[in-house]
């Protein structure tokens, strides 16, 4: 793009077409005060504090909405500007509560900062303060409208950037106030991403878990990575005297790939550190009972029990690289299973075409023209990745095409959403392959043809993720996508890791299905069997050791239990969706997994080089639907992913429900149905959902519990078959 010059305060500044004067000024180190403007949001021009003088224009203009034009001469600091700006700030302050001493925002409040620097020095307001006295409390968020300056950042954030439209303005003029729909966050569809709080310049939108808890200026800030899913969001953990007080994303300041966006787990799940289900001491089984023992003793017993034994290693995949490499050194890396198994299948699928077990980093989307997503429910599994995908469309103007079998929040911004039965996904992808071979190829479906046309001669970033990773077809789908990408050239493929270090686990270990483990000692690390390996029985073993931060159901099956730390207590690295991500310790834990493992003897490495068979042909679906059968997807609600709502009191307040979504044709008016699997059945309430396609169903749960055992079996928890019992 051709740049041009404008002059701001006598300084010659380079500007690009489409840029606003404010953006040019910011880039050139010229500060213009703002309230309603936010880097991540569409300009609003509402607060009128960013006024500047433009040579030749009779009126002052708002810098945040004013497009820079060649040879424009702008002044930001004339007496006229100063007076106008102070006038606006005066109007905001007139009826403001100024209860800074008890306001959570004090110390990082933009009204304090801008008011102090640019506001009037004295108040002329002699009227009684106008009180709105409208406080709206949700489970985790509170709006104190007397502090609100009606900048509408929250509305734009929630409605446009998050796509949720929970917040809006009620009333008009001086009586206007901010509220969620019907005054109720949950009814309004709030996802509790916390983004509205993050961008609120004042103390109006509040984090209730933090309310009156501490002061911004005295807390210690630690930038670390959230390990509660594979989005791997960078976040600021604020502590005081070694205790976590809150987590903030700092949208617009945060330089992580998530740019400060978080989801409910990252924003509020930090209190799992203080869960009353936290394990305090090692436990040893004596007879039928578990007795507390010292760590020394636990280590002594452990050393003895594992010596010379083949270990069945069960890994949950949000462990750090440091933890994983120590675990592999001590317990071996071939007789291992993990919840990253299907992720590794996806990587294998891609590698069978490309010859490389590698997935592109998320930033490859930035360089693409079209983002081609193959995945369902990314917004639940990896909420922030879904947000970033949405923003690629609404902020960067990328085209998004999505292929899946269930409706998605992303469809609202998609150029094209192709939703087909699970067994047809690969065939659908093959139409795109045909399109690359024969320019005149027609699938016979206009929607597919127009999507295929949108890909032509474009840089395409393929994204595979969400519950699609748990489909029996995942390897075949990945292989097909890789084949398509290979044919197109100019394309990248990113598999969204479901957990924080799915990539690290896949790199370091040869994963096997649990049935293939052949050791005699079970070692479970950070996992919960029911959650990570639903439907799997622990192999019979001489001895079972469980490393876990929490009291889990697996403890009942353990001979020895050793406590470990949670995410914000860790120092280390994970292989994230965007390169290697850093974890910085915000809280010092009592037990550290790496320290414990270091005291165990290392084994000789036994790992062979995994061979790769290159196929160079697209995959074939292994699903076979018969008429009348329904494909089920087990969907763990966003709040329940990684058991967050089970351990976090904060997140529990907004936990989702357990319900079965059926297409009306399949629901047939039933309110409750009984699902029958191979080994069990489950009565469950039905939600009719006509955005599903007939023959697909979503089993939404907050937590994967025992009663799902007979229905769902690791690792393919999506697109499995089960029957609905006829009454």
């Amino acid at each position: 793009m051709e740049s041009f010059k404008i002059i701001i305060d006598g300084k010659e500044c380079e500007a690009y077409p489409g840029e606003t004067v404010l953006e040019v000024a910011e880039r050139n180190g010229i500060v213009i005060p703002v309230f309603c403007y936010h880097k991540e949001l569409r300009p609003e021009g509402a607060c009128r504090v960013c006024l500047v003088e433009v040579e030749g224009a009779p009126r002052l203009a708002t810098a945040c909405t004013l497009r820079a034009m060649p040879d424009m001469v702008v002044k930001t600091n004339t007496e006229r500007v100063k007076k106008a700006r102070a006038g606006v700030i005066e109007l905001i302050l007139n009826n403001h509560t100024l209860e800074c001493p008890i306001c959570d925002k004090a110390g990082e409040c933009e009204l304090q900062m801008v008011g102090f620097r640019y506001g009037p020095k004295k108040s002329r307001y002699r009227e009684p303060r106008r009180e709105k006295d409208i406080v709206i409390q949700g489970p985790l968020i509170e709006i104190d409208n007397d502090r609100c300056i009606l900048c509408r950042r929250c509305i734009r954030m929630c409605g446009e950037n998050m796509g949720n439209r929970v917040l809006g303005i009620f009333n008009r003029g001086y009586k206007a106030y901010i509220s969620p729909f019907n005054g109720d966050f949950l009814e309004g569809g709030c996802e509790h991403c916390g983004s509205c709080i993050d961008v609120c310049p004042v103390g109006s939108l509040l984090d209730r878990a933090f309310k009156y808890k501490d002061r911004p200026w005295r807390m210690e800030k630690t930038w670390t990575t959230c390990t509660l899913c594979g989005s791997g969001c960078k976040m600021e953990v604020d502590t005081y005297h070694g205790k976590v007080k809150r987590v903030v994303g700092r949208i617009g300041i945060n330089n992580g790939h998530n740019r400060g966006y978080l989801c409910v787990r990252g924003k509020w799940g930090w209190d799992i550190v203080y869960s009353d289900k936290r394990l305090k001491k090692p436990l040893l089984k004596k007879g039928e009972e578990l007795k507390e023992i010292s760590l020394e003793e636990a280590l002594r017993i452990l050393k003895e029990k594992i010596e010379g034994k083949e270990i069945n290693l069960f890994l949950e995949s949000s462990l750090t690289n440091e933890e994983l490499s120590k675990l592999s050194a001590v317990f071996g890396n071939t007789n291992v299973t993990s919840d990253a198994l299907t992720f590794s299948l996806a990587v294998e699928g891609i590698a069978s075409i490309t010859g490389e077990r590698r997935t592109a980093s998320f930033s490859s989307t930035e360089k693409s023209d079209v983002v081609f997503v193959i995945g369902d429910f990314i917004e639940e599994v990896n909420p922030v990745i879904a947000t970033l995908l949405r923003l690629l469309v609404i902020q960067k103007g990328k085209r998004l095409i999505r292929v899946g079998s269930y409706p998605s929040k992303l469809d609202a911004v998609a150029f094209s959403s192709l939703i087909v039965s699970p067994e047809e996904v690969i065939d659908l992808l093959k139409h795109f392959i045909m399109g690359t071979i024969d320019l005149y190829y027609s699938s016979g479906d206009r929607k597919i043809d127009s999507a295929a046309k949108a890909l032509r001669n474009k840089k395409v970033a393929f994204i595979i993720g969400g519950t699609t990773l748990f489909s029996p077809d995942i390897k075949e789908i990945s292989q097909t996508v890789a084949y398509l990408a290979d044919r197109m050239g100019n394309a990248t493929i990113t598999v969204i890791p479901p957990k924080a270090n799915s990539i690290g686990v896949t790199k370091l270990f040869d994963l096997k299905p649990p049935e293939k483990l052949k050791g005699s000692v079970n070692v479970l690390v950070n996992t919960e069997l029911e959650r990570d390996f639903p439907g799997i029985e622990l192999p019979k073993a001489e001895f079972t050791v469980v490393f876990t931060p929490f009291y889990t159901h697996d403890i009942a099956k353990a001979d020895l239990v050793i406590p470990i730390e949670t995410g914000v207590e860790k120092e280390g690295k994970v292989e994230g969706i965007e390169r290697t991500l850093d974890l910085k310790r915000a809280v010092v834990p009592k037990y550290q997994l790496t320290e414990i493992i270091s005291q165990l003897p290392y084994r000789e490495g036994s790992r062979e080089k995994r061979e790769l068979k290159i196929k160079k042909k697209p995959g074939e679906s292994i699903l076979s639907g018969e008429k009348g059968e329904i494909y089920f997807t087990l969907l763990v609600n966003r709040t329940g992913w990684n058991s967050v709502s089970y351990y976090s009191g904060n997140v529990a307040k907004v936990a989702g429900r357990r319900e079965l979504h059926l297409h009306p044709e399949d629901a047939k008016g039933r309110k409750i149905v009984t699902l029958k699997g191979e080994h069990g059945e489950l009565p469950i309430s039905v939600v009719e959902n006509d955005s599903l396609i007939p023959g697909t169903a979503v089993l939404r749960v907050e937590r994967v519990t025992r009663d799902l055992k007979g229905l769902v079996k690791f690792p393919f928890t999506s697109n499995f078959k089960c029957r609905i019992a006829e009454e």
Partner: protein
């Protein structure tokens, strides 16, 4: 003088299509469709010198030209019939008595600009107007003036009425468009202007009712003829709704540039009980006040701007010697406080502060410093987001400037001198 805009209103059943057609109605549309290209129509309107009657006085031909040059499709033509300003009731006469004139004007405008769909955004408080417009539209469909292939040409145009919900701000064209889209009525950032990105972000022409009612005559008699009526740089007939302390309040059609004095004293019959004239708001509730020695001003856009006020909708509000200027200003600013959408700080907060100060003054607890504060609030409000806030302070600030003594009188005597004790 010959009535142009009000030529039909006295006739019985003037709102019916037969009556309208009997006096040559829809002949202009026929002429346009059969003999003129869209560019010819725009050229004719440009020659006429017609300027928008909604308040801003933007040259209509130029607006149409911008819209016709935008290549995005479809385009929309919107008639602004929101008429929400206090004491403005001129569009109502056309809506209720001569709806076909504005509909014909609209169809011609749509043809000139290439608009496929049209909306009449009607003030919510005009339920009778709504019935009349809906019936008129149905009649026009029946006669083939609306719908597909109008009069056998390639030109198609569909027209609907959309009722507002009682917000003055929805008269502002971009807020109107937001409201039409089903959103909260609040103005949008300009640019882009509606002619390029309006309803559904497609090119949209927004014209006032009275503006459109001028179109059929311009086509019928030619732009040249039209341009010779009234003020040379702002020609045409104009509807002046006159209200307040005049003997004959009502809507008067007079050429642009008719002196204010003539309107008040000749056409509206002078002041009630032959009292003394005190003040006039010459262009609606948000115009700056004029004193009796300023009323020789010709009523047109440029002359009033030169006099430090504005023509706006042309609504003339007359106050006599028994009226309290503080109370008048208070009433007006109370209206604007109520109608401010609340989007921007200066208008939302400024109107409220002004109301609070004026109430105090009117109740006798004003202070002399208040007057300076009023003027500085007014200055800040100049930086509002839209025309509402930019103008709302005018009646207050201008009365403080021109009737300072009366304000001080309130302050000093601690009461309103006009209130009986």
């Amino acid at each position: 003088m010959e009535k142009i805009l009000l030529r039909n209103v006295e006739k019985e059943n003037s709102h019916k299509i037969e009556v309208y057609m009997k006096s040559g109605g829809y002949q202009s549309l026929r002429k346009v469709l059969k003999e003129m290209s869209p560019d010819d129509v725009i050229e004719e309107v440009k020659i006429s010198g017609l300027r928008g009657r909604g308040g801003a006085g933007f040259p209509t031909g130029m607006k149409w030209e911008f819209a016709s040059q935008d290549i995005k499709e479809p385009k929309f033509f919107v008639c602004n019939a929101d008429e929400g300003e206090p004491c403005t009731f001129k569009d109502r006469v056309i809506i209720e008595k001569d709806p076909h004139a504005m509909i014909e004007g609209m169809i011609i405008g749509a043809y000139a600009t290439g608009c496929r769909y049209g909306y009449i955004y009607l003030r919510g408080e005009y339920p009778i107007g709504k019935k009349i417009l809906e019936r008129a539209i149905a009649e026009a469909y029946e006669k083939g003036f609306l719908g597909e292939n109008i009069l056998g040409t390639d030109f198609s145009f569909d027209l609907h009425v959309h009722s507002g919900a009682g917000a003055y701000i929805c008269g502002e064209e971009t807020a109107l468009i937001e409201s039409l889209e089903g959103k909260r009525g609040e103005p949008r950032i300009k640019p882009p202007f509606p002619v390029n990105a309006g309803y559904l972000w497609k090119p949209t022409v927004v014209n006032n009712v009275e503006t459109l009612a001028n179109i059929p005559v311009i086509i019928e008699r030619g732009g040249k003829w039209y341009s010779q009526i009234g003020s040379p740089d702002c020609p045409g007939p104009k509807l002046f709704p006159v209200s307040g302390k005049v003997k004959r309040p009502g809507v008067y059609e007079l050429p642009m540039g008719t002196p204010l004095e003539e309107i008040i004293f000749e056409h509206a019959g002078g002041i009630v009980n032959d009292r003394k004239l005190k003040a006039v708001f010459p262009g609606g509730a948000s115009s700056s006040v004029l004193t009796p020695d300023e009323i020789s001003v010709p009523m047109d856009f440029p002359s009033l701007a030169k006099a430090g006020t504005m023509l706006g909708s042309g609504a003339i509000m007359v106050l006599d010697e028994t009226d309290c200027i503080v109370k008048a200003a208070l009433r007006l600013i109370e209206f604007f406080r109520h109608e401010s959408c609340g989007k921007c700080t200066p208008c939302r907060e400024g109107t409220d502060w002004l109301v609070r100060i004026l109430r105090r003054i009117e109740n006798g607890s004003g202070r002399e410093e208040d007057l300076e504060i009023i003027l500085s609030i007014s200055e800040t409000m100049e930086n509002s987001f839209c025309g509402l806030g930019m103008a709302a302070h005018n009646p207050v600030a201008s009365t403080v400037r021109k009737f300072r003594e009366e304000y001080l009188n309130h302050v000093k005597s601690g009461r309103c001198p006009f209130r009986s004790v």
